[in-house]
């Protein structure tokens, strides 16, 4: 089992999905139980990978290779590095929490969990693939089920028709869940189209006849190719990472998506994008990365501040959280753009931290929405009286989001800002810090508006605190958030060696930073 652990971890959710496919759709309890078991197995396996991985030795471990399309040199080449380990754990935690948070879902539950688990299989696949092509394959698998997940189980909301481009409103059902699903899918797949072209560019330019990422990373690409191909990867993967201005799918998508999907999408999927930019774009194309880093960083800074300000202006609870994701993914991209050890450590750490944090957020918002049947912040107030537990976890997530020490968010942001300060563009970190402050403003504002004040208006008669199994995701996510905030080396011990070896590929002068 140990030598096949990685294929096992990819296969586990997939197998669970297959089993689900053959269950009778009426047996909700059985379906939920099976899905939860599948997710739990994934979580356990991801932790087991972390256990097996020797963080002292670093590098790629637990490798498996199976030929897939020999004529093109495509292999199912699985191995995991320190980055992968942390992100596997993230995925495991989020999916388990996500499935537990969806236990109240009853409509077409079987299909829901099947799609969810397929998606997770894709995510796992991305994090363990060492074959560029298979990486892309899994990437696509992770992106696509989203269309149905949002389109079928999502929710719609009203959007005011305004702005100079309001004539567009006639054509789209803006605010509708199907609109959101379609927009998300199309924007992400335009990104994939870019990625595909970049991928082919690498494959043919390297001329090694293989998609093995280690080989491709060692190949020398002409500078001109590096420059344009990097842009392809940046924008391609970046569209999933919510890079400005290709982030606009994110608010609509996350706001419309059902709870578990928002958790998974904002929590894990957006990370695939940033992971791709770093793992493929930057590592394969160091010249391109160095050339474009100032632009990438500047755009990331825009993301951070712009996303936070946009969040401040929102009136819909889910939109606020969604925009916060845009802002926080900006931090990830900022870390990546620094091309420094702590910047990259921070980027990966922020992926983890933001994943957990936003997962917690969406789980809570989902609970609130389910009980309040509204997402309008202005109508809420005093919810803490009836749902103190939710309020507490919301505060925790909010604190992590604004980078409070003791939560994972701080470690991540601190590393990123430190990295930015070491990079040639030190001013980035000023804006990063400013973004964190604006985050504090909107997070506390919304938490005050929702939870503080005299008890909720009688309009909300259905409110109650979390119950029984509903607590589980909150505790898991909240606990992880604190644990990784208090003792960051739980993850950093994995991340740091990987970063060192990867950074050496990108920055010619090793140890060029203090």
């Amino acid at each position: 089992m140990t030598e096949h652990i990685l294929s096992l971890i990819v296969a586990a959710p997939f197998v669970a999905a297959l089993i689900l496919l053959f269950l009778p759709p009426k047996q909700l309890g059985l379906i939920r139980f099976t899905a939860a078991i599948g997710a739990f197995v994934s979580l356990v396996l991801s932790l087991y990978v972390a256990f097996l991985y020797n963080s002292q030795a670093g590098g790629l471990q637990l490798a498996e290779v199976y030929p897939l399309v020999p004529s093109l040199g495509i292999e199912l080449r699985l191995a995991v590095d320190g980055w992968g380990v942390s992100l596997l754990i993230l995925t495991g935690v989020i999916i388990f929490a996500g499935v537990l948070a969806s236990t109240s879902l009853a409509d077409r539950a079987k299909e829901f969990f099947v799609l969810l688990l397929v998606l997770v299989a894709g995510v796992f696949g991305v994090f363990v693939s060492q074959d560029l092509f298979v990486f892309f394959l899994f990437y696509e698998i992770a992106v696509l089920p989203m269309y149905l997940l949002i389109g079928i189980w999502g929710s719609s909301h009203k959007v005011t028709e305004a702005g100079p481009l309001r004539f567009v409103w006639k054509w789209f059902d803006i605010g509708g869940r199907e609109y959101a699903a379609m927009k998300l899918t199309l924007m992400l797949l335009v990104g994939s189209a870019f990625i595909l072209v970049g991928l082919l560019a690498l494959y043919f330019s390297a001329g090694a006849g293989t998609f093995d990422m280690a080989v491709l990373a060692k190949a020398h690409y002409p500078r001109s190719l590096q420059l344009w191909a990097f842009v392809l990867f940046w924008l391609g993967f970046g569209s999933l990472a919510g890079v400005f201005p290709f982030h606009t799918w994110s608010p609509d998508g996350h706001a419309s998506a059902p709870t578990a999907v928002s958790m998974l999408h904002a929590g894990v999927l957006m990370k695939l994008g940033a992971f791709g930019v770093m793992r493929i774009g930057m590592m394969m194309l160091p010249d391109g990365a160095r050339f474009w880093a100032p632009v990438v960083g500047a755009v990331a800074v825009v993301n951070v501040v712009y996303g936070a300000l946009s969040a401040l202006s929102q009136k819909d609870l889910k939109y606020i959280i969604a925009y916060s994701s845009v802002s926080h993914m900006g931090v990830v991209m900022l870390g990546a753009a620094t091309l420094t050890q702590s910047g990259w450590n921070g980027a990966i750490y922020q992926m983890f931290a933001h994943g957990i944090m936003t997962g917690l957020f969406f789980a809570l918002v989902g609970h609130i929405y389910e009980r309040a049947h509204s997402r309008e912040v202005a109508k809420m107030g005093g919810f803490a009286t009836v749902m103190p537990g939710v309020a507490a976890f919301f505060t925790l997530a909010g604190l992590s989001s604004l980078g409070l020490p003791g939560t994972a968010g701080f470690v991540a942001e601190f590393l990123v800002f430190a990295g930015a300060w070491q990079s040639p563009q030190a001013w980035w970190s000023l804006f990063g810090v400013l973004g964190a402050f604006v985050t504090a403003v909107y997070v506390l504002r919304v938490s005050r508006a929702v939870f503080f004040g005299e008890g909720p208006s009688p309009h909300f008669h259905d409110l109650r605190d979390a119950r029984r199994v509903e607590w589980a995701p909150l505790w898991i996510l909240g606990g992880t958030l604190l644990l990784c905030g208090i003792w960051p080396r739980l993850l950093l011990d994995f991340i740091d060696p990987a970063t060192s070896s990867y950074l050496r590929l990108v920055v010619a002068v090793a140890g060029g930073q203090p």
Binding site: G163, L165, V168, T248, A440, R448, F452, P488, R489
Partner: protein, 601 residues
Amino acid sequence: MLASPVSLALTALLAPGAVALLLAVATPLRNRKSAIVLSVLAALSSLVAAILLVKGQLTPTPPQLLTVPWLLQGGVPFAEIGLRIDGISASMLLVVTFVASCVQIFSVGYMHDESPPAQGRYFTYHSLFLTAMNILVLAPNLLQLFLGWELVGVTSYLLIGYYYRKPSAAKAAVKAFWVTKFADMGLLIGLLVLRSKTGSFDWDATITPQAANLVTLLLFVAVMGKSAQFPLHIWLPDAMEGPTPVSALLHAATMVAAGVFLIVRGWPLFELAHSTRAFMLGLGSVTALLAATMALFQNDIKKVLAYSTCSQLGYMIAALGAGSLLGGFFHLTTHAFFKALLFLGAGSVIHAVHSNDLRDMGGLARKMPVTTLTFVIGALSLAGLPGLAGFFSKDLILEAVGEHGFSLWLVLLLVSAFLTAFYMGRLLLRVFFAPATEKSSHAHESGGFLLLPLGLLAVPALATGYFGGMFGQLYGTAYHFHLGNIGILAAGLGVLGLLLSYVLYRHRAEHPALLAPLGRLIEHGPMDRLYEGGFHRVALPFAALVGWIDRYLVDGVMNLTGLAFIVSGQKIRRIQTGIATDYVLATVGGVLALLLYGVMR
């Protein structure tokens, strides 16, 4: 010694930490009296550990360090956390744990009427606060200090918002967090600068004076927020929305003093940074005066004390700015005791009267003798009456400021000293000696849980001044008391202030006509209005604009792109007329185009 300093420090840190964690996780424990017992026990054990630590530090020992790598960078530690035990941390720990213990005991009585879960929450927050404060105090470097700094900020937020149903409390909590968080940006950036200049987060690394100026200036921005210096003081009066013991602990004795403690800890840096210190001196003096002025016009007993806290913090900052480490820190210590005492006394009064308003009080001296006695001790100590703790520390500060000759700042501070006595006199008169009102007539002396801490705190408020030598030893600076001209002047001003207040407010509540316009101005709250205006008129509209741009322009362009495809599809499909001959025409057209291409090539 029974225990090593490290294990003592760990005990001080982990006892409340473990309790906080336990109470946070175990709801059943939290919702019962067990929360109170655990929390108080933890605070007491911290206190014991702190006492033992201080005892150990009285004999000169090198600082004890215990650090572990916390963040990594390329396999080497990037940041460390741990413990640093020296005189400064030990004495601060003592102050913190002592006041915290007193306040927690006081709270047992004060919060008695709250529901058990609410009490559990309250004591959980307290344990959390104590943990955070201990993290801060025992920090071996500025990074960990920052960690604790932020954590106490959060507990402050939580505790101010303890009565979250009250909109004003909720607002105050958020406001406090925003203002301090805004200031903390300076600290965070300062840390980054420090790290890039020295390669570590330690405060005693070698650094150029220029860099030191930059770093300390950034750090001082955070201090301004946390220690409520003008113009970032606005959150502190609002923070009085929290339960009174909280005000005593966080917003008077310990947390707000963390700013001063930061400067004390970072003294090696600040010592080099002359520009920063000059700024500190000025700002501290100005704050001291302004806050004292404002305190005069408050009708809320807690707000008077809050402004007084601001003012006294200004003293400490000014002292440090003037270069007197001992003055700043000593005043911090004495202030912690007497201000906590004052707040708890105020709490006792409020508990009895069920009102914060001075106008509802009066004549309590006879009804609440113990409270009155202790409160008067605190007030006089604050007013700088010779012989009491406040007198010694304040004298130290004024001496330090006056050391370089007569300056504007010295005048400001002296005026503040006068005003301090003046408003404290007013307070005492209104609360205890004025004629009883309807509300205060039913008041009666508080119970043992409330009085015991008052008594405990009254002792150091009285006597700390005589232990200056001990503190000097702990900080590594010599302390010799000598009464200079300035000290006499200050004492005289204090007495004068008390007398004047007696004259002015003995028989009436209103301010004299001369002061009335100033009072109206202060009631108006010009600073608050400025900030709120800035937030509501500038920041929010700007955010709304950004949000609008995102939704309707950026996203609009994305939608427009999609629309362009659909519309072009709609347009192109018109060529499919449905008439077969048109199809033939298209085919022929295609062939002709191909032929035309053939001719062209």
